[in-house]
Amino acid sequence: MRTVTIVGTSLAGLRAAQELRAQGFDGELVLVGDEPHRPYDRPPLSKDFLLGKIGVEDLELADAAGLLELGARWHLGRRAVRLSASDGSLTLSDGTELKSDGVVIATGASARTLGDGLAGVHTLRTLDDAVALRREIADGGVRVVVIGAGFIGAETASTCRALGCDVTVVEAAPVPLSRALGPEFGAACAGLHEENGVRLVTGIGVAALEGDTRVTGVRLADGTVLGADVVVAGIGVRPNTEWLDGSGLVIDNGVVCDEGCVTASPNIVAVGDVARFRHEGAHVRTEHWTSAAEQAGVAVRNLLAGATVAHHANRGYFWSEQYGHRIQFAGQAAAEAEVVEGSLAERKFVATYLRDGAVTGVLAMDSPKPFTRLRRGLARAATVPAG
């Protein structure tokens, strides 16, 4: 393998580049990313960066020296528009044609949007999104309606509140986060909103956004209108795969690949939020930092081997920070769950999820030490040998 091109220069793409070099690839390395920025970290965008506690330089995933060390050719601010799986050829938005022996797809996901360009309506996925939202809420005192009480919505609500905004969260499901955490613990986490002076409206959908050029309110399905100066849609993401139409790869809610992140073409792998890999008999796509980081090492190993020699273990770990509380989760939620340390009332606890008596998942709030021990008990190595 002489040339490898990585498409997407965020966490998964950068980690893949680092892993290629660490695993001894000394050929030509090309990175293509449509954002103009150097690789930056997303989790702080809804937390300390939005709050104004840290700046752009603190978001960098690697400093200039670390990037130079990769010895790569960078095409930033350019989008890949076409891939041919049969010969690995790529076309970029400026017409550049690239030929490579191996391709790493790391194009992540984009936020679902609402409101057709109405001013004051935001999503939060990119640095530019965060800068634009921060400009509107930095001084507090504005009415913010957050649509969607998932992790991004909840973190955004928490930060807006900390900045002194009047915040309402609207969630269509009866209990927020119940798919990720189960109903009991979803409700426990969602309880943080009202405790911190944020209104939470659940079990009702949004009918429309009101306003001519700028948003003035959110109309709910029952006709109620919530006045709003700023609306943030936290309604999920879709994987960035449009550019792969006609590539010959199988696309179905992500780039479909095997347990080792390898597509049907052994010279093309997919990593991070865009990858829908095989895991325990099904195909899953994760949207979390640690899985994106860990998949890179596995995918690169398989790419260099020309075959799936290692599997991604998918330990299902993620964290969130809301209202000064640290939430950590690993594994999988199950119907049966119990608090094993602390208590929900104190907002400091560790809970385990059980199926047939076996622990399938761990959730903790403000309890990093016991959480880490339980998570380790659950975990297998990040890379498991194939076969």
Partner: protein
């Protein structure tokens, strides 16, 4: 020199946190003692709460791993090292020389 604890109070695989000019944690692993800055160089987490394996400690928050011998991070999200300090065992007690911080060499 700051006294951390008795040797008997720090079994292999455990860590103890002490308050010097900054929080410092002392680890006992593989028959040796190591002292490093307790606060992760990424964000505000106590490395004494982390997971020790061999000569490495994994941060309890976002799983960056640090080499206890050098303070260097081995993976993202940490990019900066933590400082290391000399440890002295004397008369059944563990001491940390907090005045001699070693800035890890990148």
């Amino acid at each position: 020199m700051i006294r951390a604890c008795d040797v008997d109070d720090l079994p292999d695989g455990e860590a103890v946190r002490l308050l010097a000019h900054v929080p410092i944690s002392v680890f006992h692993t593989e028959g040796q003692y190591f002292a490093i800055d307790d606060t992760c160089s990424h964000q505000d987490a106590s490395l004494a709460d982390g997971w020790v394996e061999g000569c490495f400690v994994e941060c309890p928050l976002h799983a960056a791993s640090f080499d206890l011998r050098t303070g260097q991070p081995t993976c993202l999200p940490a990019k900066r090292p933590v400082r290391t300090y000399p440890v002295v065992v004397s008369d059944g007690a563990i001491y940390v020389d907090t005045a001699v911080a070693q800035e890890a060499i990148a």
